[in-house]
């Protein structure tokens, strides 16, 4: 058995077939469904770690390639970057599965939910593994399709509206991406991610076309990465159940966009060539604008999940920002933020889900004094908030520190200003929540929606603990080779970016 | 002299067609259409195409007239006036089209050669002496086969629209009249004779399966119109088989040609085959046309009121 070939396939099918089987399960067979889900996700986690071992230690190249007969191949290829994204998605899938089993207990249509949930993870796995832009596009569109049912899962009118908005944005993005990908293919022929530099070899007469293609691609990816003004779907999609929001924000959708931008800049155009074409400056400006805009909008939200959503708009653009600066530290910062933002944001959403699920709290005003009623959740929330703001031992600090260093290295000191302002704004919209959670008195009686032995069901408590722990450890042990930062460094080396 | 005659025919054809379009009453339009058919057959006689003249006179003026009149009677009161206005929005494109076509006609090459020579050269190999029959049944037999298919499908379609599988159901005789039955007695044998004669003639002179079939069909329609019950006495299965017979005989020819030769629809080297196919075709053309005329819905329903 050739593992180099089969391992990527196994990665995909572990969630794909799980999803398909789950569709056909009866609504009542909870135990079987949960077992399947957990088996699939645990298998995937092991597979990823095994793959990481094979790649990092044994230097095996995993590659799968089919000819589609269309002048391009369907390529799955594992490099450091995809490994990192894979590790993120598989681990968070496991965690989120556990969380959603607890969260959705007793609610209708669970087969549908978990089926699409697994497919969604398949899509993000595919996005991580994609070895060229076309394969990437295939999974990117697949992701759009399978997340829609998750967004409208509640079946309320509001949810359907949100679903429609989500679709319009993402399908428009998909169409743009399609145009860009095809155009690029017409100009260059089939182009794998490993062939960086092919565009540089093209003559000058293509430069204008390449600029337009870059713009189209970034716009197409920017829809999912929620670059302003393409972010409109994200706050609306908050009507989805908490695990969906968590997954959408932390791993699947926005990360797919951000990951795509990283791929386009680093692997398709090449960072230096993109800089040579003068594309990175505008990208950095757009990202900065999104960061500030998202934070400002977050300030004015009163709904907890909405505020988190705008925070996502802002935070994800750090990745784009780091990508757009030609500096070693920026690149590392961008890549590492991919992971850091994921684990921190998913914690926040888990906690928000806990508040909503056990006490029915949605509005920020209702959170007064909740720290006494739900201390564990509140502690986790607080930790994640500190991470988001970038307080030193936390993971967020690492990303921001690297991004800052990169800005200085790249000679764009104005980015530093953006970072500082953004951190201030982060504090401004997060700290009041933390303050009122711990130091204000509850306004009234808590109405308990779900009773359990602890403050919330165990299945809702363990996942955020895990993720917040990961965030803390990612910050504390950043120096290790196996931490996200260590991986990010290796990725940067792999791309030929040195300090 | 010929040219004057041609011009008169051409102009009257164009004039009649314009009158048909402009006629206020449907009835008038249909009567004019019958005239149009007769004029056309005149034109075809002039153009040395007697076969088509026979066919047109029988079909264009005859069966089509019966069908249209019949339908008109069922659809509306024949004197109903239609609003006929000249719409420039439609007329101008049509004039433009006519102009374009007229312009391109001038480019028909003077030394135009159709396939006539090729046909004449190949004619001795077919055991047929008359080229049109040879083209219809041998050289382009596939077309004829499919044409029989079109007829059959039209009958099937009529049955489908009427939601019945039984052609006989519609064959309730019209009220008998003394003169009508007298005419039938007089003309019917003659028409059957003429039909057979035309069919026989087809092997070496103008005439053939189609013309014969049409004449037989006219005879059948007349028989039915005069209230004679004989057509309704035919067993249903036989009726069906005869409807298919032309198409079926070509089908059998096609299948058998797959066995003894390499190309579909190749006739064996005897005349009997071709004649057999032709006779079957005549029968089924006649029967299909009769069924099409009789198969119109709501006839029974209406005649009950009379």
């Amino acid at each position: 058995m050739n593992l180099n070939f089969w391992l990527p396939i196994l990665m995909l099918s572990s969630s794909f077939f799980t999803g398909l089987i789950i569709f056909f399960l009866k609504e009542e067979s909870t135990a079987l469904r949960t077992t399947l889900n957990l088996a699939g996700s645990i298998f995937k986690v092991f597979a990823v770690h095994f793959m990481a071992y094979r790649l990092l230690v044994l230097d095996n190249i995993h590659q799968v390639s089919f000819s589609m007969g269309l002048g391009f191949d369907f390529v799955l290829r594992v490099d450091f970057l995809s490994l990192m994204f894979l590790a993120l998605s598989s681990n968070l899938w496991l965690v989120t599965t556990i969380y959603s089993v607890g969260y959705l207990e007793g609610s209708p249509n669970r087969s549908r939910f978990f089926g699409f949930f697994s497919l969604c993870v398949t899509a993000s796995t595919g996005i991580a593994l994609a070895g060229n832009l076309i394969t990437f596009f295939i999974f990117y569109e697949f992701l759009t399709l399978v997340t829609y049912p998750l967004v409208v899962h509640r079946e309320t009118r509001e949810a359907l509206e949100a679903g429609r908005t989500y679709l319009w944005y993402t399908i428009l993005g998909g169409a743009l991406l399609f145009l860009g990908v095809v155009w690029l293919q017409v100009i260059t022929g089939p182009l794998d991610f490993v062939d960086t530099g092919a565009l540089e070899a093209l003559g000058r007469e293509y430069h204008v076309s390449l600029c337009i293609i870059f713009l189209i691609l970034v716009m197409g990816l920017g829809v999912k990465a929620a670059l302003v003004p393409l972010h409109g779907w994200l706050p609306v999609a908050m009507v989805a159940p908490a695990p969906v929001s968590a997954l959408l924000h932390a791993v699947a959708v926005v990360k797919a966009g951000a990951f795509g931008i990283v791929r386009v800049v680093f692997d398709v155009f090449g960072r230096d060539f993109a800089g040579f074409l003068g594309l990175l400056g505008p990208l950095a400006v757009a990202a900065s604008f999104t960061i500030i805009f998202g934070s400002l909008r977050a300030l004015s939200q009163t709904d907890l999940k909405k505020r988190l959503a705008y925070s996502t708009v802002s935070q994800v653009s750090y990745i784009t920002l780091g990508t757009a600066v030609i500096a070693y530290f920026s690149a590392v910062g961008a890549i590492v933020h991919l992971v850091h933002q994921g684990i921190m944001k998913i914690t926040l959403f888990f906690c928000a889900g806990n508040f909503a699920e056990t006490l029915g709290l949605h509005n920020i005003r209702d959170l007064r004094g909740v720290g006494r009623r739900m201390p564990l959740t509140a502690i986790m929330f607080t930790l994640a908030v500190f991470g988001m703001i970038g307080t030193p031992p936390m993971a967020g600090f690492i990303s921001k520190w690297y991004l800052g260093l990169g800005a200085l290295e790249g000679g764009s000191a104005w980015i530093l200003v953006i970072l500082v302002v953004s951190s201030l704004l982060n504090s401004a919209y997060f700290l009041p929540i933390v303050y009122s959670m711990w130091f204000e008195l509850p306004s009234g009686q808590w109405k308990t929606i779900r009773t359990s032995r602890f403050e919330a069901p165990l299945m809702l408590l363990v996942p955020p603990m895990f993720t917040v722990g990961a965030a803390v450890f990612a910050g504390l042990f950043a120096g290790s080779n196996w931490s996200p930062l260590g991986l990010a460094r290796q990725i940067a080396f792999g791309m030929g970016i040195y300090p | 002299m010929d040219l004057v005659f041609d011009l008169i025919i051409g102009l009257s054809l164009a004039g009649v067609s314009w009158r048909i379009v402009r006629a206020r009453e449907h009835f008038q339009a249909i009567v004019l259409f019958i005239t149009f058919g007769l004029l056309l057959s005149l034109a075809w006689t002039r153009l040395k195409s007697p076969d088509i003249a026979i066919a047109e006179a029988a079909v264009g003026a005859g069966l089509a007239g019966v069908l249209l009149m019949d339908t008109l009677g069922a659809l509306s009161s024949p004197r109903e006036r239609a609003k006929v206005v000249i719409s420039l929005k439609l007329l101008i494109p049509c004039l433009f089209l006519a102009g374009l076509m007229a312009y391109s006609i001038l480019y028909i090459p003077e030394d135009f050669q159709g396939l006539g020579i090729v046909v004449r050269e190949a004619l001795p190999q077919t055991h047929l002496e008359y080229p049109i029959t040879a083209v219809l049944l041998d050289f382009r037999g596939y077309d004829t086969w499919l044409e029989l298919g079109v007829l059959l499908v039209a009958v099937l379609g009529v049955l489908c629209i009427r939601r019945t599988d039984n052609i006989k159901g519609t064959m309730l005789p019209a009220p008998a009249e003394p003169v009508g039955s007298w005419i039938v007695k007089l003309l019917l044998p003659l028409m059957v004779l003429i039909g057979g004669y035309l069919l026989w003639l087809g092997a070496f002179a103008p005439g053939g399966a189609f013309q014969g079939g049409v004449v037989l069909a006219s005879a059948g329609v007349m028989l039915w119109q005069s209230g004679h019950p004989s057509l309704g006495l035919m067993p249903r299965l036989w009726w069906k088989i005869l409807l298919c017979s032309g198409f079926l005989s070509f089908l059998i020819l096609a299948f058998s040609s797959l066995f003894y030769t390499d190309q579909l629809l190749t006739h064996p080297a005897t005349k009997t085959w071709i004649l057999g196919v032709e006779y079957a075709a005549t029968l089924s053309i006649a029967l299909c046309l009769i069924s099409l005329v009789l198969g119109s819905p709501a006839r029974n329903h209406e005649n009950k009121g009379v």
Partner: protein, 504 residues
């Protein structure tokens, strides 16, 4: 001048003629047999046609194109039949859709009140199938006219099958338009004959030059076929005709019949007029109409509220894509991109045929289950008929052109050749069309995510019906993985050398 037997004929057991003979025989038998036997006969014929198509496809794939001379007479005297990659693809499409639709209808028409429909359905459908098969073999312009009439009458009769006044009117409107188109086509045949004295497509193609006669012929024939294919200004007949018919008939009409006239249009443009007459302006005009059709049809589909009408309007939009081929072929200098455009268009035709048939069959399931095809009734079926919902989703994915479906391959290649040819204005079709398609597909699908507790679903849908629709949808997805074979079949340029073929 009868041709001697080609020696390889007996070594090669495939008999393409059977694809015409079997359905016609089946039709006749269905007509003659008592009603109990009709379904069996129909199914048997369908299976036979399907297996023969598969065998023939394999043979064409291996040995290349074939040419038959009917009656043993060579062209220009006789009628030829040509079987090349293009025709075999359409034959195969017809066989797959036809087989599954036949299986579906065997179950669909088994309800007591549908018995009377089944009686007429089988002979007409088999006739239509035979006519379509012979249309895909056609190589003679007058023969094409006769075949088209055969297709037209049987299709119109099928469209009127359900017998409601709406369906009758729709069928008549369709039929009158078809007939007018046939007349124009026949006059076009006359013009071609006047110029060349020939009727065989390949022979005409070799001798044809420009000139007003040929231009006129091209114009008449193109308009005739565009009317039958329901391109934009002549699209009005399609939605009622396809929307009012019973589900299997809709599937046939939308999936196959309009493809027939489109196929003929391809033959006319690229065989008969291959090196003459055709101006880039005419091609651009057709392309423009296609573009408008894509947008207009999809827009109309979005604002409909009945499932079958949505699907029917979607046909107008999806057929519009096919016509983008013309400007692409005539305005692209590079032959490689021409092949690409060509393949894209055929792929679109095939995947649309499969997906559309699947959609209509699924709509039929919906109607049988809930009694109506109002979109709101979709709410009930998501739980009761998950397979039907899944079918709708899969076929919708193919229509939208999302990867990895057949529709995706089509749109991909289409966009690629559009960009390569520099015809920027055409790029609006795949992009905007894809968006609008997504809009109406999700309009359908989003209903299935809403549970309506008020009323429960009434009828049951048989296993066969659900599965045959699902299979069609699956095929429309899976064909995306078999692009290579299709490209191979289409890439070979086909020139027939006709023995003794002479041109005056």
């Amino acid at each position: 001048m009868p041709v001697g037997a080609p020696p390889e004929r007996y070594g090669n057991i495939t008999v393409p003629e059977l694809l015409i003979l079997i359905p016609f025989t089946g039709a006749i038998l269905c007509f003659l047999f008592p009603e109990v036997l009709r379904r069996l006969t129909g199914l048997l014929s369908a299976a036979l046609i399907f297996s023969n198509s598969a065998i023939l496809t394999r043979s064409i794939f291996q040995d290349g194109a074939r040419r038959l001379h009917l009656g043993g007479w060579t062209e220009p005297l006789g009628i030829g039949m040509s079987i090349d990659g293009l025709s075999i693809l359409f034959i195969l499409l017809t066989a797959v859709v036809g087989l599954l639709v036949s299986i579906y209808s065997a179950s669909f028409f088994s309800a007591a009140q549908e018995q009377v429909l089944a009686r007429h359905f089988w002979p007409l459908w088999l006739f239509l199938w035979g006519a379509l098969n012979s249309l895909f073999f056609v190589s003679d312009i007058f023969n094409a006219y006769v075949v088209m009439e055969l297709v037209g009458i049987s299709a119109a009769a099928l469209a009127a099958l359900s017998g409601t006044s709406a369906s009758l009117t729709a069928a008549l409107r369709y039929f009158l338009l078809t007939m007018a188109g046939s007349m124009a086509f026949l006059l076009g045949v006359g013009f071609i004959y006047a110029r060349t004295g020939l009727l065989d497509m390949y022979l005409v193609g070799t001798v044809a030059d420009g000139g007003p006669l040929m231009a006129m012929a091209l114009g008449l024939m193109t308009v005739a076929l565009i009317m039958k294919t329901a391109l934009f200004p002549f699209h009005f007949w399609l939605p009622p005709a396809h929307g009012e018919a019973p589900a299997p008939v809709s599937a046939i009409l939308s999936g196959l019949v309009i493809k027939g006239s489109f196929y003929l249009l391809l033959r006319i443009w690229f065989t008969v007029f291959q090196n003459s007459t055709v101006t880039t302006h005419a091609a651009a005009l057709i392309g423009l109409l296609g573009l408008i059709a894509v947008i207009w049809g999809s827009y109309q589909a979005i604002i409909q509220t009945r499932l079958k009408l949505i699907i029917a309007y979607s046909s107008i939009g999806q057929v519009g894509y096919l016509f983008l081929l013309f400007p692409l072929i005539f305005m692209t200098p590079d032959p490689a991109w021409k092949t690409e455009a060509w393949t894209a268009c055929i792929f679109q035709a095939i995947s649309h045929g499969l997906a559309k048939a699947a959609l209509f069959l699924a709509a039929g399931n919906l109607i049988q289950a809930s009694g109506t095809d109002d979109l709101r009734s979709m709410r009930n079926i998501a739980d009761k008929l998950p397979m039907t919902t899944f079918t709708l989703a899969l076929a919708g994915v193919s229509l939208m052109g999302l990867p990895p479906s057949g529709g995706f391959v089509a749109k991909w290649m289409l966009l690629q050749s559009i960009l390569a040819s520099g015809q920027w204005w055409l790029a609006a079709a795949p992009i905007l069309g894809g968006l609008l398609t997504a809009a109406y597909v999700f309009k359908i699908l989003s209903q299935s995510f809403v549970s309506d507790d008020k009323k429960s679903c009434c009828g049951n849908v048989s296993f066969v019906m659900e599965k045959s629709a699902l299979l069609l949808a699956l095929f429309s997805i899976l064909i995306g993985f078999r692009a290579n074979e299709v490209i191979f079949l289409l890439s070979e340029p086909v020139f027939f050398i006709i023995p003794g073929g002479q041109s005056p």
